[in-house]
Symmetry: C2
DNA sequence: ATTTTTGCAAACCTTTTGCATGGAA
DNA sequence: TTCCATGCAAAAGGTTTGCAAAAAT
């Protein structure tokens, strides 16, 4: 909870205007859970009959990304996905079945980065880690299907 | 060295035809060092006055990616970059100054992935790790500039 | 009253696709 | 000869931009 507030607070704090469009975008984001794309927000807005331009959505998302309250991921297809997030360092685990995104903290990456630096001679400044797998819910669904003798889904 | 050969070998091994266009693409890739985009190859081909269609380059790159001899990265801008690589699991360290790409092996990521799985409840199947920093050469250049009393480059 | 934002539509870019022609095996 | 691969040009996405109108401070 409080997602809308934190997004708007970030805008306000940074001296940007609290416009209707931005409030709407914050709202749309808060109404989502997990990954979403700009197109998702466009669709959501339209579904709720709230009018806003596509460009404005992109612009707001850009702004929120700059402010660090939303993170932009590069998807393989060339589109971008966004996730609202705390400005602390973390990584994402993404469910290959349902798209749910879970944040996890460092988990020992610091050591890995140091080791990489040692072996490569680079000064490592940043890293991006994305993990892909199956979330607990989808694992549960699998188990249920199996118990019921259902056919297995393709890997 | 031997990059062209290994690319062509992969094609041959997999039963794909060794066409002129594919040889050319292999050549262009071998002539590169580090990251490159499809557009880079198009430009290289044109510069050498070797004619090949843009679509063919994309198709060849796709094929090589499937064969695992080239890896495709998703760049922030929405384009894709490619790197020739061994088919073993590894990660990339990318120099923010010169774009050089160095491959590093696992370096303890397995433990991190396991830890993430434990905390999140996900079954983690894959991961992608990209590290960014400054390569040894650029670090050296920095040091030299500093010694000479030169002004520091922007981070 | 000023300055930032919005909306729309057009522009942009990279990547993909349809289809007739050309080239490998 | 028989498929597979190529080229071209057009289509498709997704994202960005120019500019006049609208809204916020």
């Amino acid at each position: 909870m409080g997602t809308v507030a934190s997004l708007l607070a970030a805008l306000d704090r940074s001296g940007h205007r609290l416009t209707g469009a931005r409030r709407l975008v914050a709202d749309l984001i808060a109404g989502r859970d997990g990954l979403f794309t700009a197109a998702d927000l466009v669709a959501d807005a339209r579904a709720q009959r709230r009018r806003i331009g596509r460009a404005t959505i992109f612009r707001s998302l850009d702004l929120l990304t700059e402010l660090g309250v939303v993170e932009r991921l590069d998807l393989p297809g060339g589109e971008h996905a966004y996730v609202p997030c705390e400005p602390v360092h973390h990584h994402h685990v993404i469910c290959l079945r349902c798209g749910r995104v879970t944040e996890v903290e460092d988990c020992g990456m610091g050591a890995v980065a140091r080791e990489v630096a040692r072996r490569s001679g680079y000064r490592v400044e940043r890293h991006r880690l994305e993990l892909f797998g199956v979330c607990p819910d989808c694992l549960g669904a699998d188990a249920a299907a199996r118990d019921a003798g259902g056919s297995r889904r393709a890997p």
